[in-house]
């Protein structure tokens, strides 16, 4: 046996390890992203959601994690491309007849197509909200809440001064004032467009099928298949990442679309 072996990441298994770890990291992000965004369903003119958006964009550790996240998305996509190129080269002449669903599931064979739909969605999603929030024309809003009674008054952007650029939270005479960008209104506005709503719903369906295979596949790739826990891992992959999370995300554009009708 040769005692000189190739470096980990030049091997097929090392590249698959990268796919697995970045994929699982992205899965963990989905959970956090969903929990935060559930605040969109609160009927408070976006008070909770806008405060949350402010926190997520200004808290330093979150920023570090967000750059890790962007890197993971890019690495996951780039390695998918590298691995797929190798896979295509491994069978230069295809079959005349193929077994299709007789020996494997459709989604397990088409992770690349599902991933591409998700990538297109991500680009749109970042443009719709991330770019608009950071560099775009997201309006401002001011909330004045009486701390004692909880009564809240809002002043929307057209009533605020034109030079307004502050994002502040302060308390004065028992009234808490929050001035922030109104991402909630941006969300409500964006989801009036039926094509964007359709893209979001289709992308969530693609995400569901991607994760039903991908979540358990990631554990197989890192070699985790302990008989006692693998059943749990597989059900989490199907029910949490394949059903609950995509449906909850898809409900958001649908909620705003039908609310605005």
């Amino acid at each position: 046996m040769s005692s000189k072996s190739k470096p980990l990441f030049s091997s097929s298994l090392g590249k698959k390890l990268i796919m697995s770890l970045t994929g699982l990291f992205l899965c963990s992000f989905l959970v956090i992203h969903l929990i935060g965004n559930l605040q969109l369903f609160k009927n408070d003119e976006g008070y909770a959601f806008n405060n949350y958006a402010y926190f997520m964009t200004h808290f330093a550790p979150i920023k570090v994690v967000s750059y890790l996240l962007y890197a993971s998305i890019i690495i996951h996509a780039v390695y998918a491309l590298i691995l797929t190129t190798k896979n295509k080269a491994a069978r230069p002449i295809g079959y005349n007849q193929s077994a299709g669903n007789e020996n494997s599931k459709w989604n397990s064979r088409n992770m690349g197509i599902l991933g591409t739909i998700i990538l297109v969605f991500l680009a749109t999603h970042m443009q719709n909200f991330w770019y608009q929030y950071k560099f775009g024309t997201t309006p401002y809003i001011e909330y004045n809440t009486e701390v004692a009674t909880g009564n809240r008054q809002t002043i929307s952007s057209d009533e605020l001064p034109a030079t307004y650029d502050g994002v502040k939270i302060f308390e004065n005479n028992g009234v808490e004032t929050v001035q922030t960008k109104d991402l909630y209104k941006q969300v409500a506005y964006t989801f009036q467009n039926p094509f964007i709503v359709l893209l979001y719903v289709v992308a969530m369906a693609a995400l569901a099928f991607h994760l039903i295979h991908g979540f358990q596949s990631a554990f197989q790739t890192i070699g985790f298949n302990h008989r006692r826990y693998i059943g749990f891992v597989k059900s989490v992959g199907i029910w949490v990442f394949g059903v609950i999370i995509p449906i909850a995300f898809a409900a958001m554009p649908l909620y705003f679309f039908f609310k605005g009708l």
Partner: protein, 253 residues
């Protein structure tokens, strides 16, 4: 019964092949698929044509020599059988059967339906063995092995190396084969000395042969004629990553 065969015909490894339609007449239900091809070849030989070239040896499902992708399924439509164990009763009169060789860059077609599977031999030679210093015959049961471990290793060792896993995989990945060969030694005491070197050497050779990457579709397990399980692939991943991350053998080299 009478059948229409669409067979891949290719003169040699240099030429490009194509499908040729051949009639198979008066085929009995109880013939094996290979016997059916024998009958067809008799006809072709009598007509002075080149018989269909295909791999076969033991014809009882243990040698791993027969291959053939039949209507898109390696070893045909039945589960847990090799092509030689497939009988014509699995087909019906007048059916068209498409017969193709294993398709993989690492398994070049030699002639018609026979492919060169020496890539598997080279993977085996890279680490699929145990170095033993010869000497006296050891006592039976001198090394205690729990029954369930022995059974698991035996299950992995039943791999006949036919290559159906590669043929079935959409990426032409050899992971099921390599994982079975690594597993049978990783589980047993005799394999421990070279355990991590073996996993690395065999994976390196697998990559060098040009097989694709595993995407865990499970097609290999579904088509394996001897029932090698995907748990072997998880074990190979574990062996290899453990070797690389925690116990790389060549750190002192």
């Amino acid at each position: 019964m009478n059948l229409t065969l669409k067979v891949w015909r290719q003169k040699n490894d240099k030429s490009t092949g194509q499908f040729v339609t051949i009639q198979a007449n008066n085929i009995a239900d109880d013939m094996s698929f290979l016997e059916m091809l024998d009958i067809v070849n008799d006809d072709l030989t009598r007509k002075g044509e080149d018989p269909i070239y295909f791999d076969h040896d033991c014809r009882e499902g243990i040698c791993g020599m027969c291959s053939l992708v039949i209507n898109g399924r390696p070893h045909g439509p039945n589960q847990g059988t090799t092509t030689c164990q497939l009988h014509m009763r699995s087909f019906h009169d007048g059916q068209t059967i498409v017969i193709e060789p294993w398709r993989a860059a690492a398994f070049p077609v030699l002639k018609d339906l026979a492919v060169d599977r020496t890539a598997f031999d080279r993977i085996q030679q890279a680490g699929g063995y145990v170095n033993v210093n010869t000497g006296g015959v050891p006592d039976a049961n001198a090394i205690p092995i729990p029954k369930r471990i022995a059974d698991e290793a035996f299950e992995s060792a039943t791999c006949i190396g036919c290559g159906a896993c590669v043929a079935a995989c959409k990426n032409a990945s050899a992971m099921l084969f390599v994982s079975a060969k690594v597993s049978q030694f990783a589980l047993l005491p005799q394999g421990q000395t070279e355990r991590y070197e073996r996993a690395q050497a065999m994976v390196d050779q697998m990559d060098a042969e040009g097989f694709g990457n595993c995407t865990n579709t499970g097609a290999c397990e579904a088509e394996c004629p001897v029932g090698i399980k995907l748990t072997n692939i998880a074990r190979l991943n574990r062996e290899y990553l453990t070797a690389k991350i925690f116990r790389q053998e060549d750190v002192h080299a």
